[in-house]
């Protein structure tokens, strides 16, 4: 079948979306951004095709195999991918240890490294076997990194090989693993995954069907800014603002206004009934009031990012925060706390301040029209959403506010639609 790919190289994550010729989403992929843009785009694309094939497979064996079995298969697939990367990482770290660790410590280092990786491998297997495993990051870099660090500390100092030495090795090598092309595709690991679940025959024919369906990539469009060079030819690049507008329109066809609060910037976009942008405003000169700001606040408070919203919702009084400057976030928070303000009240004030900034940007771009789609990481924060609802109602009257769980793919979706349009013309 014909398919169209959109790739969005964001500052933190790279996303890809694959559409079929009817512009239905076949698959979505996401990976952490990295210095080798081509590779980041390739990995995200690969992931999207993986989920596309799993999707095809699921369709093929829906009735006979059952959801649980397919979930295990996917889990096994991920484990297989991880193991491949772990093997490579171990290789590189052992090589690097031979180069950079002093003669006398080399064998102690090798031993410790061996222990760490054996343990990670064990944990990986345990994760697979566990029916209800603890949540962990989807990105190899994060999950492997935190495991490595924890184990390096746990196993303890041995024979003079310090924690810092081991971390240095990791830091040096993870970048190389990330920026090297590795075989992580559907074809390469589905066999191993099938073996892990005992080679279920019900699934085999689904796999065959998924493998045999030809996915003909007709056109790819890329987007993402702040890059000196995007890894696509010029005609296949679209501005992320246009992609974002079109993507939001695809998710919610009656969208007129889009607000995206990302990690480092905020965008307010107006679109027409075809999803074409009619005006936009960016707040990209400073990260105040964006995701990163909330990250700093979470760090200062020693809580998880996802806990900020729920905590803020417990507020009982209005605390006015005048500045969302990231640089002073910590100082402002500490001063407020020292004055006796409660954490939840301060947080409620902070969320309101963030949304106030967004409201200004919206006003500059032309206001809030019905329907209003809110995207970006901050859209998953219930306190931010609540503040937005209040402020929109106060200033523009009741408007339908759309939020999608998949809003992180908005840009890539828009790019994929552009790819589709490009092919038609």
């Amino acid at each position: 079948m014909k398919c169209y790919v959109g790739i969005d190289l964001g500052s933190t994550t790279t996303k890809a979306v694959v559409l079929d010729e009817d512009q239905r989403i076949l698959g979505r992929g996401i990976t952490n951004s990295r210095s080798n843009y081509d590779l980041a785009a390739a990995v995200a694309r690969e992931e999207a095709f993986i989920t596309a094939r799993f999707g095809l497979m699921r369709k093929a064996v829906e009735a006979s195999a059952g959801g649980k079995l397919l979930d295990r298969l996917l889990k096994g697939f991920r484990v297989s991918q991880n193991i491949a990367q772990l093997i490579r990482l171990r290789e590189l770290i052992e090589e690097q240890a031979n180069i950079s660790i002093a003669d006398g410590l080399r064998s102690a280092a090798a031993k410790k490294i061996g222990q760490i990786f054996d343990r990670i491998r064990e944990e990986e297997e345990a994760w697979f076997a566990d029916e209800n495993p603890a949540a962990r990051s989807d990105f190899f870099r994060d999950s492997a990194g935190s495991a490595y660090m924890r184990l390096a500390e746990e196993i303890g100092e041995q024979g003079g090989v310090s924690f810092d030495m081991l971390i240095a090795l990791y830091d040096k090598c993870i970048i190389r693993v990330e920026n090297e092309p590795l075989e992580l595709g559907f074809e390469q690991h589905i066999g191993a995954a099938l073996e892990r679940i005992g080679g279920a025959a019900e699934v085999q024919h689904g796999i065959d069907s998924a493998l045999s369906t030809k996915l003909e990539e007709r056109c790819t469009v890329g987007t993402g800014y702040g890059r000196a060079r995007l890894p696509f030819p010029k005609e296949q690049i679209r501005s992320e603002i246009l992609c974002h507008g079109l993507g939001a329109h695809a998710m919610f066809p009656d969208t007129k206004t889009v607000l995206d609060i990302g990690g480092q910037d905020t965008k307010a976009i107006q679109v027409d009934d075809r999803g074409i942008v009619t005006s936009f405003q960016m707040n990209d000169r400073c990260a105040a009031g964006c995701g990163r700001y909330l990250g700093y606040i979470a760090d200062e408070m020693n809580i998880g990012l996802h806990e900020l919203g729920p905590l803020a919702q417990k507020a009982t009084r209005q605390v006015k925060i005048n500045s969302t400057c990231t640089v002073f976030a910590g100082a402002e928070l500490r001063e407020r706390l020292s004055l006796g303000e409660k954490r939840e009240d301060i947080l409620a004030g902070l969320h309101r301040a963030i949304i106030l900034r967004a409201m200004s940007l919206l006003a500059r771009s032309g206001g809030v029209q019905d329907q209003f789609t809110f995207t970006g990481g901050v859209a998953r924060n219930p306190a931010a959403v609540r503040a937005l609802e209040q402020l929109v109602e106060e200033n523009y009257g009741a408007k339908t506010i759309n939020i999608s769980e998949d809003s992180i793919y908005t840009g890539a979706l828009g790019a994929a639609i552009f790819a589709h349009r490009e092919d038609q013309s």
């Binding site: 800014y225 603002i241 246009l242 075809r274 009619t278 405003q281 960016m282 500059r364 032309g366």
Partner: protein, 428 residues
């Protein structure tokens, strides 16, 4: 064939050759001024009285132009840092800071020659508050005479008769006596009239050049190219034969390009295939001038009109220096500079330009340190969009502080905007 080619290239370069020579000669004269005892008058581009200054055989020097040149030559970062080190705020006009820094670094001008100290600071207060502070600061450094020429703001869209008279009275009672004192010469009205007549000639040619952008393709870029074209007329060369010659040569070159259907020459070569015709509001960024220009040229976008090229006079609206009313015409000139026009007037101008030059859109380059231009530009954006029906882009940078030019941000906004225009065009 060979001859024709040779004369072609000769003609193409002639205006640039003339301009280069004019500027080099002028700075040489400035360098020698302490010896030749030619009195030097510092003044500003908006409201500059070049003809009057020259009628006293004084040399005009424009600190604004020095500042922008420093920006283009990569010197402004250090100058600004020095000014901030000695106590100037990060929030204020970077032209001033650049000038103060340059002064502290020995006052070596943009062409590498030492700039002379002023014999007179002619503070032409025309639509920019900062000018007042700039010369108060320079006065403290140089301890020289300063004359303040207050140009009343066109708050209601015109220069009221009593305000016009006020300007004339000041010229008579303060400016001319000050010039007489430093030059040792008496006011020579005939000489002034002569220079004014030369100005008017050059102005006719300049306007023809600016209006050539109505052609498709436009033979000029009226923003990036435009700032080169208005250089002479905004500064020391208006009212001189050199100025007349320059504009005559320039006009001919431009008319030749129109005949051949050619576009302007950009840093990346000629832009004959022009996809987007744009009107631009706001000063350019000087530190990354070529880079900024390239962003337009890469997308085949050409500026067909700009407001910044009117800070030294709105000649395209019909103003000509009139030798028959020497002092009155100077008053009219000062009152009509772009910086002295009220906000509704600026909106009208942008809407006019969009219509008359058949623009596809407009760009506002909002400059951080210039309140005169920037305060109110967001409203200008919305009003012009409303009235003209074309969308506008909003870009943010600065005059000469490179810390406030983020190529990635600007490129993103500009490209997004042009893609938006393209999508609209295709959808229509």
């Amino acid at each position: 064939m060979a001859n024709a080619d040779k004369s072609d290239t000769a003609q193409k370069d002639q205006s640039m050759v003339i301009q280069k020579r004019m500027i080099a000669d002028h700075f040489k004269r400035l360098e020698k001024a302490p010896e030749t005892k030619e009195p030097v008058v510092y003044t500003f581009v908006p409201g500059n009285l070049t003809e009057l200054i020259r009628s006293f055989d004084c040399l005009p020097l424009l600190p604004e132009i020095n500042a922008l040149q420093s920006g283009m030559r990569g010197k402004s970062r250090d100058y600004i840092a020095e000014a901030e080190r000695i106590g100037h705020s990060e929030d204020v006009c970077t032209y001033v800071k650049c000038d103060v820094g340059m002064l502290k670094a020995g006052n070596i001008g943009p062409t590498g020659t030492k700039l002379p100290e002023p014999d007179l600071l002619l503070l032409s207060y025309t639509g920019c508050y900062t000018f007042m502070k700039w010369f108060e600061l320079l006065r403290e450094e140089y301890k020289c005479p300063t004359v303040f020429l207050q140009i009343p703001y066109q708050g209601d869209g015109t220069l009221a008769p009593e305000h016009r008279q006020y300007i004339i009275d000041q010229i008579k009672e303060s400016v001319i006596p000050a010039l007489e004192k430093i030059s040792g010469k008496k006011y020579d009205e005939e000489k002034l009239r002569h220079y004014l007549a030369l100005s008017a000639q050059a102005e006719d040619d300049l306007v023809a050049v600016l209006n050539s952008a109505k052609n498709k393709p436009s033979p000029i870029d009226s923003y990036f190219g435009g700032v080169y074209y208005v250089g002479p007329i905004f500064s020391a060369f208006r009212g001189t034969q050199d100025g007349v010659d320059y504009y005559r040569a320039l006009r001919k070159e431009v008319e030749d390009r129109v005949e051949r259907g050619e576009g302007p020459v950009t840093p990346d070569g000629p832009l004959d295939d022009q996809k987007y015709r744009l009107v631009v509001e706001g000063p350019p960024n000087w530190t990354n001038f070529r880079e900024f220009w390239r962003m337009f040229a890469d997308e085949s976008a050409v500026a067909v009109a700009s407001t910044y090229t009117k800070v030294g006079g709105t000649y395209d609206y019909g103003f000509r220096h009139d030798p028959n009313d020497p002092l009155g015409t100077l008053a009219d000139y000062c009152g009509g500079c772009y910086t002295n026009i009220n906000l509704p007037g600026r909106i009208d101008m942008l809407v006019d330009y969009i219509r008359e030059f058949e623009a596809d859109g407009f760009i506002i380059n909002s400059v951080k340190s210039c309140n005169s231009f920037s305060a109110g530009q967001l409203m200008i954006l919305r009003e012009v969009e409303k009235r003209s029906g074309v969308p506008g882009a909003f870009i943010e940078s600065d005059l000469v502080d490179p810390r406030y030019f983020s190529a990635a941000n600007i490129k993103n906004r500009l490209e997004s905007y042009l893609q938006m225009l393209e999508a609209r065009r295709q959808g229509a």
